[in-house]
Symmetry: C2
Subunit: 301 residues, 2 copies
């Protein structure tokens, strides 16, 4: 990865944000409609949607205030309710409360850190005790477990936010030497891989603005994948330049002499594959999730 | 994958479920506390947590009732609010409303299908028009995009449920010949990969029971990864046998002569890597997400 990403560790967290807050009037009315699909009142204003639209990322500046244990337990009990393949819950959630260890693990600290790992070791241990062979050692198992893991992680984010607890989802665990994670967290050598870190806490200050999102062309496709026209691409490039859209990671790209935000993004931020093996592929191989490949034939259409 | 999975396609969907429904009294009281972290009332009973705990999977038996367009739009507008790395929204969400096509794509149909794909083609197209080189061709880019994609998918699930719309998350897109997805959905050849399919709709009948979850040992770990003792493993094996826990995929394992549910699971259900290249790895290579690996050295601890 050739990029200046590491210079900006503080800003590399996965961005969450919110876009609007509805009045309590609206909320009360909308809550009456929640779970009643037949009602005609505005469906976009129930408490859950309000919680989702209020999501935002706190970039490390959390206060020292602890999360009450019942609230943390409520987050954990809620997050496992996410759907998961064959109900095998192929993940491990590691709860870390020591701030120094949080920073060592993911580069950030808050009131609590949840490390969401794809993990088959519980299931493997059950199989071994019962005398069965169970080998989750290929990419299909990895993608399945990774999906289960992230479904749970986002459920934790939304559950926490509903109780006024903000969050930071970060792939900081994939930066630096990932071997530290196996040491710091005593991870099993095989068939376990940390996917995402979730820092929970209360913000020391409100973010200056809530990040925007692309919500249409280029992201939402109807019936088929839509290839962008040159005109649509130009419109998207200009959309990132609009201050009110808040799509960019920073606002000083004009001061730096760039014509477009995406000039800054592609020149100074975005990494690019460089032909070298990425650490993630190397570690996935060590964890036993990348089977030896034989064929490279195109799948039949 | 050696298993009898394909015999049970109807049951291979990713399982979601709910565990309890709180009274409207509780909900109204709890909603007042939502987003107010300082309050002392029970934090576990707000509307969002209620929505999460009511999640369940509908296994294909959806009614013909359409989802009102404003509700579908609310789901789409909510799901993109999920956090995502560098705010690059490296995903494509393809909305499919034709029931026959839904079944061809994922094996199920409902009122609407959302196919969540990891996708860098929008960003690549922007880079190309601006004259930059941007190559997302390695496993690090894949894991990052896959995570972004699933964070959005689960946000869609929760947003839909808050409006009374049930769901089925399925990896049916990874079964059969995955080449069909490129044909059926006109997917870009490179740097796009369908991660998860979300069928939305209204159930024709209520599920007989809501699936349970493991909520402690083996799933939640404190400070460090906890390796199961033999006693703990035995307790987990027996837990799957408890009818009231609803942890299993089916109840007829005793009738089939098995001592434990997990006997059925490991003998008749769970696949196992067999040394062959999985279709997923093959397709990820074709999509350009698996770089040629050179080193297999252990990461430094």
């Amino acid at each position: 990865m050739k990029s200046r990403r590491r210079e900006f560790l503080k800003q590399t967290a996965i961005l969450g944000s919110g876009v609007f807050l509805l009045s309590e009037d609206h909320q009360a009315r909308a809550e009456q409609n929640q779970q009643k699909p037949g009602t005609n009142a505005d469906r976009r204003q129930n408490g859950t949607l309000k919680t989702i639209h209020a999501l935002r990322t706190i970039h490390g500046n959390f206060t020292d205030r602890p999360i009450p244990e019942p609230a943390l337990q409520a987050v954990l009990q809620a997050c496992v309710r996410a759907a998961n393949a064959s109900n095998n819950q192929s993940y491990a959630i590691i709860v870390v409360k020591d701030r120094k260890r949080m920073a060592q693990i993911c580069g950030y600290s808050g009131s609590c850190l949840l490390v969401f790992c794809a993990d088959y070791n519980r299931i493997k241990t059950e199989a071994e005790l019962m005398g069965y062979r169970f080998d989750p050692g290929n990419m299909e198992f990895f993608v399945t477990a990774s999906t289960n893991t992230v479904l749970a992680a986002q459920t934790a984010v939304i559950a926490a936010k509903s109780m006024g607890i903000d969050s930071l989802l970060t792939n900081g665990i994939h930066r630096g030497d990932m071997g530290r994670l196996w040491q710091l967290l005593s991870l099993p050598e095989k068939h376990c891989f940390p996917i995402i870190a979730l820092v929970l806490g209360y913000p020391a200050s409100e973010p200056a603005s809530l990040k925007g999102r692309l919500t249409g062309t280029g992201v939402i496709h109807t019936d088929n994948y839509h290839r962008l026209t040159q005109q649509e691409t130009g419109e998207l490039i200009r959309k990132y330049d609009e201050p009110d859209e808040h799509l960019g990671l920073r606002d000083d790209w004009t001061a730096k002499g760039y014509k477009h935000y995406l000039d800054w993004y592609f020149k100074e931020w975005a990494g690019s594959a460089d032909g070298e093996e990425s650490q993630i592929l190397r570690v996935l191989k060590l964890a036993g999730f990348v089977e030896a490949g034989k064929g490279t034939a195109r799948p039949k259409a």
